[in-house]
Structures are given as C-alpha cells and as structure tokens.
C-alpha cells in the first residue's frame, strides 16, 4: 500500500461563527499575510512527508475558505521542483468545471516533466457548489468530463504534429502539446467516484479508482470495478487500482490521538457549510435522484454506515463513530494500522491510502508529529500489506 499525505490547505481562521464558507463568503475575511504563512506551512508539511517516504496528494477547490488551492497546478509545480521522491497526485483536475482541457494537458505535461515523471493525473467532475462559480452548466457535466478526459489523453499521446478536435463541447484545430509528458504513454490516470455506474466506466479504461470518505459503501464501487474487468475478460485487478481517502490522527497514546482526531474532525463540520441551492444545482444529480430528494424533503442528511450497520451523519459524528464508519483512522500506531487493514480488507483492498493528516484545526506541530509517527510506525507495515477479503465485515456494507 502506498500512502499519500493530503491537506486541503484550508483558511481555517475564517471558520469561526456559523457563516457559510463556500461560494459566497466575502474574501475580506481572508488576510493575505495569514494566507501566505499558511501556504508555506502546508508546503513544509508536504516536503516533510516527502522526506518521510510518503507521497503527496493535492486537490483544487474554488471560492472557499475550506481549501485555498484554487489552482492545483501551482502547488503541483512548486512541489515538482522542491520535493525529491514523492509521487505527486492531483485529485483532481475538475474537468467538468474547467473551460479549457488543452490548458489542462499543457499544465499537466509541464508538471510531469518538471517532476521527472512523478505526476499522477487525477480527474474529477468537480463539486456541485463550484459550478455556479465557473458558470459551466451542471447539465451534461459527465459528458463534458469524459470529452475532456478523452481530449487530454489524446493530446498527451499525440507526437506526430497537430491534430484536430471538433467535439460536442471543445473545439481545437491545432493541438500540439509542448513539452510532451515525461511518462510514456502518459501519467497514470485516477478518477474519483461514488457510483457503481462510473466505477464501471473507470474500470473499462483501466484507470485508478478513488473513493473519498465514503466508508463501507465503497465496497459497492470496488465490486463494480472488479465486475467490469471480469466482464471484459481481464484478470482480477490488483489493489494498486484502488484508492481511498480517510482522515488520519495518530498519537503516541490513545488520548493524544483522540485530541488530534477531534481537531481533524472539524473538517466534516466545515466542509458542508454552503448555501443549500449551491449544494445541488439543477442537472448535477439525475432526475430520479432529485425526485427522491424532493420526496425526502428536509429529512435528508448525508450519512455513512458503520461496520455494524448503524447510520451516522459525519458533520455531527464523534471520533469513535467516524472510526466505526471508516471515515477516520484514529489511535496509536498499532490501532491505526489495524483499522486501516481491517477496513481495506472489508471494502475490497486499498492499494493507495489517501491520508488527510492535516485537516480541521490541526496545528503545524501536531501535523508534524502525526506525519512522523505515521511514517515511522505505520507506513512500513502498510507497505507489506496484502489484501485478504473479509466476508463478515463486507456484510455490513450498503
């Protein structure tokens, strides 16, 4: 198992109070001097992760105090130059939310070259609340996503001069990306999903599939991926094709871990603070899903199932409940190791563990300790991890 350190590079100083944090929080609440200090701090933590043998995971969000990384290419470029060994995973470029896939292909090619082939190229459709920001239509977002995906791969693998592209969404007449990507044929592609239908499409292309904090429900998407590969007559995919994002709080004692877990779990409370209409723009979900949501009315809340079949709401859950639901891994190194292995075995085998080791209000000193303890005590054992399916735990999955 590989392990990636992730932080959303939040601007947590603006979280106090109950104001919304996404889309419409005025940026007068951002002090650029503090933002600068925070960026340097987060990059220092990633460089420490690199020194400790961890990989690096960067994301992108827009108009939000929950994540200052509005242009993922910038941290990628800096870390391509400053880190030494780590894989640089971006998960991802929000293709449903970007106007210009040619520019995406150019940025990603430079980063792959600059890092001498350490880029892992994740594509996501983009979160619902950022479509009102980009003003790209939520309707047909997945169609736009797949055309952008196809275009970027074509642009990265074409080496014999300009090609033409006149698609449903994108039009180019002279595509010729310089420099070309370092990895051949192109950097590995990762895609996130929480649906079985998308899992099959990702599997059909043989890309890495990532599920983000979806707990035991991830098993359904992992199974769908494997089923698709079998249907294609392909061998059982290795665990390197699967990734999972969880929150991680390690401590030298259970008490220290719990304190860190509580600070980190503030992430769950901040993440959903958005004016409701932005959370579900028309066309982002299917008609059937929207009809179901209308039927449920105000009763609906995001929820996760625990390994023993209870439902929890992440924004209100305790550290123990988050651990039970596979959203957080918290405890001493021994405990965290066992939690990750048990969870991975239950959902179908994680080859890439995306660890949010900084989130919420976790300070720099705590993050350094979290990273160091994890890398020294947990990572060496996870590197030896072999997937062992566990039927009993799987039964709890949705």
């Amino acid at each position: 198992m590989r392990v990636y350190h992730m932080t959303e590079q939040s601007y947590f100083p603006a979280w106090e109070g109950d104001q919304k944090l996404r889309v419409d929080l005025p940026n007068k609440h951002c002090d650029p001097k503090i933002a600068g200090d925070l960026f340097h701090r987060y990059y220092d933590e990633w460089l420490l992760a690199d020194d400790l043998g961890l990989d690096i995971f960067i994301n992108e969000h827009h108009a939000t105090a929950t994540c200052m990384s509005s242009v993922a290419a910038i941290p990628l470029a800096i870390l391509a130059r400053e880190s030494k060994k780590a894989k640089l995973l971006v998960l991802g470029y929000p293709l449903g939310n970007r106007m210009d896939p040619l520019r995406c292909a150019e940025e990603l090619s430079i980063i792959d070259v600059l890092s001498r082939g350490r880029l892992e190229m994740g594509f996501v459709k983009g979160v619902p609340y950022e479509l009102p920001v980009s003003n790209l239509n939520p309707v047909q977002i997945m169609d736009r996503f797949w055309e952008g995906h196809d275009f970027i791969l074509k642009a990265m693998t074409s080496h014999d001069g300009p090609f033409n592209w006149e698609g449903e969404f994108y039009h180019y007449r002279h595509v010729n990306v310089w420099p070309r990507a370092y990895q051949d044929p192109h950097p590995p592609v990762w895609i996130t999903t929480s649906s079985k239908g998308n899992a099959k499409q990702i599997a059909a292309r043989g890309h890495v599939m990532a599920t983000m904090g979806t707990g035991y429900a991830s098993k359904g998407t992992y199974d769908a991926y494997k089923e698709q590969r079998r249907a294609m007559g392909e061998p059982e995919p290795g665990i390197e094709k699967f990734a999972y994002l969880g929150l991680v709080a390690v401590g030298s004692t259970p008490e220290e871990a719990r304190r860190r877990g509580e600070l980190i779990s503030e992430y769950n409370k901040s993440s959903g603070r958005v004016h409701p209409p932005f959370a579900n723009p028309p066309g982002f979900l299917s008609v059937d899903d929207n009809a179901r949501l209308l039927k449920a009315g105000s009763k609906r809340l995001a929820r996760l199932v625990t390994k023993d079949g209870r439902y929890i709401t992440p924004s209100k859950a305790s550290v123990e409940e988050l651990v039970d639901a596979g959203m957080m891994f918290c405890g001493t190194p021994d405990q965290v190791y066992q939690q990750i292995v048990d969870f991975s075995d239950a959902i179908g085998g994680i080859g890439n563990f995306l660890a949010m080791m900084q989130a919420g209000y976790l300070s720099h000193d705590d993050t350094v300790s979290n990273l160091t303890l994890f890398a020294k005590e947990v990572l060496p054992r996870l590197k030896e991890y072999r997937y062992t399916p566990r039927e009993d735990a799987a039964a709890a999955a949705e």
Binding site: P132, N135, L136, N137, P138, V139, Q140, H275, P276, P277, F278, P281, P282, G283, V287, D288, N290, A291, L294, K295, A296, G297
Partner: protein
C-alpha cells in the same frame, strides 16, 4: 405527417402526442382560434384556471416543452434556438394558422425566439413577465439568479403574495416530483449560461411583425417592470401593461385579469405594425 394523439381517460389531464418527432405531454382544451401557451420554467398546472379562461375564446395548446415535464428531450437539443425551431415545426405539423402565442417568463423568451425566426403562422404575441434579453450593464443582473436561491427566497421574488407558493412537496406523487426535477434540469439546460437570456435576441427583435402585448406583474422582483418596458421598446409597436397584485406569475396570481387583457388584445383589429422594409 399527422400528429398522433392519444388522450388519457381524464379529459382535463395532459394527453400525450408525438408531434414533429417528439413525444410531448400536452393539454388541449377549447374550440376556435388556436392559442399556443408556452409555460414558464416551472411548467404547467393542468388545473390552473388560466387555461380554462383562455379556452373560452379559442383552442388552447399547452405542451410541456421538450425536456420539461413528461415531454421527451429531442436529440441534440441544448439551447433556446433548438426549442424555437422545434415549435416552428410543431405549428407546421399541426398546420396551425393565425396562432395567438402566449408565453410566460421562460415561455415568453421562447415566444420571442420563435417570432424573430418566423411569424408566418402567428397572429399576435403576448409576453408575460418574460426573460430573454440583457438590458443593463455587465455588472448588473437583470434577472434574479433563481438557481442561487432557496424555495422560500424564490417565492419572495416570484409572488406578490408569497403564501401562494406554500406546498408540501413530500406529499406529491412520484410522477409530479419527476416533472418538477425535469423542469429544474431543463431550465438549466437552456438557461444556465448566458443566464436566462440570449445575447443575440435584442438585436433581432425588430424582425417581429405581428402585434405584441407585454403584460407584467407590478410586483415582479425576478424581472422588474422596467425590464419589461425596455424589452417592449425593442419590439416594433409593442404595448406594455401592468397587472395589479401580481408578481412574476400573473397567470397564477391574477388569472382573470390576465386572461381578460389577453383576450381583449386578441380581439382588437390589428394595429399598424411597421413591417420590414424590403430592399
């Protein structure tokens, strides 16, 4: 090709008809001169008294637009032009002449888009609280961003009396909920960006050569009456009238007053409309 029409057993419910290649849900009511009602983005209520009031003086055709309600979305349809050209095919296939077109909000925009392309089968045009053009400067939003508002916030802008909007969606049957979800999705498909308008429409409105009446709820806060006055100013000979105690949906809040004005306008002898100069 004749339109294939099958009507449900309840004669007041919307029937289903394949017209110009698309299976539409359509209310068809009354006898006499054809009246095409183009619904706003939240669709049509079959029980709304407004359609009955219009049907006293003509045959009302009130389809759900392609992609809305239970109507099929035509292949490749992605913008307002696709809908406007579709309705020209619709009028041709049903062979309707001298059609009075009445459009509300999104439906008004659609009516204008149809009329700039061809008025050959139209007699008169009524645009009610219509969206569709850009009037103010680039930093002033003419049309309230309904996609950024909660249902309660929307009701405050749409209705003169916001208590009109109160209903418990969780109690509605599944097919109605699907229609609500489809209406919302289709509104974004055709109106997400540029938001609820066509930047080219304003400069083409001079082509409209049938009499046009603009009706506007005096309390409309989605598109304010001054927007309606400006819109009417681009249509040759168009008249603008306010409807009291109504917001963005006068056909719902003041159906009698709205229908009365429409039917009176329909009966007027055609005033002189400056027609296009032929070079």
């Amino acid at each position: 090709m004749d339109a294939q029409t099958e009507t449900r057993s309840d004669p007041r419910a919307a029937g289903s008809a394949t017209i110009a290649g698309i299976k539409l849900e359509m209310i068809r009511r009354g006898r006499g001169r054809p009246i095409l009602f183009l619904h706003p983005s939240n669709g049509i209520e079959p029980e709304a008294p407004f359609l009955d009031l219009l049907a006293k003086e003509g045959e009302v055709f009130a389809p759900s637009h392609p992609g809305f309600g239970a109507s099929e979305l035509g292949a490749g349809m992605s913008n307002i032009d696709d809908l406007a050209y579709y309705y020209l095919d619709f009028l041709e296939e049903l062979d309707l002449h001298d059609v009075l077109v009445v459009g509300v909000s999104f439906g008004g925009w659609l009516a204008a888009e149809i009329a700039i392309k061809s008025t050959a089968r139209l007699s008169k045009l009524v645009l009610i609280d219509s969206v569709g053009i850009k009037v103010s400067d680039r930093e002033t939003r003419d049309i309230a961003d309904l996609f950024a508002l909660t249902p309660d916030e929307i009701a405050e802008l749409v209705y003169h009396d916001p208590t009109q909007a109160q209903r418990d969606l969780t109690q509605l049957p599944d097919d109605v909920l699907r229609s609500i979800a489809r209406n919302r999705e289709a509104s974004a498909r055709f109106g997400w960006s540029p938001y609820m308008h066509d930047p080219k429409l304003k400069q083409r409105l001079h082509r409209i050569d049938v009499p046009a009446l603009f009706l506007w709820g005096e309390s409309d806060r989605v598109v304010k009456p001054d927007y309606g006055r400006a819109f009417a100013g681009f249509v040759p000979g168009a008249r603008f009238e306010l409807i009291a105690k109504a917001g963005h949906a006068p056909h719902v809040e003041q159906p009698e007053a709205t229908a009365r004005k429409i039917l009176a306008f329909a009966k007027e002898a055609a005033p002189h409309v400056p027609s296009k100069e032929v070079a």
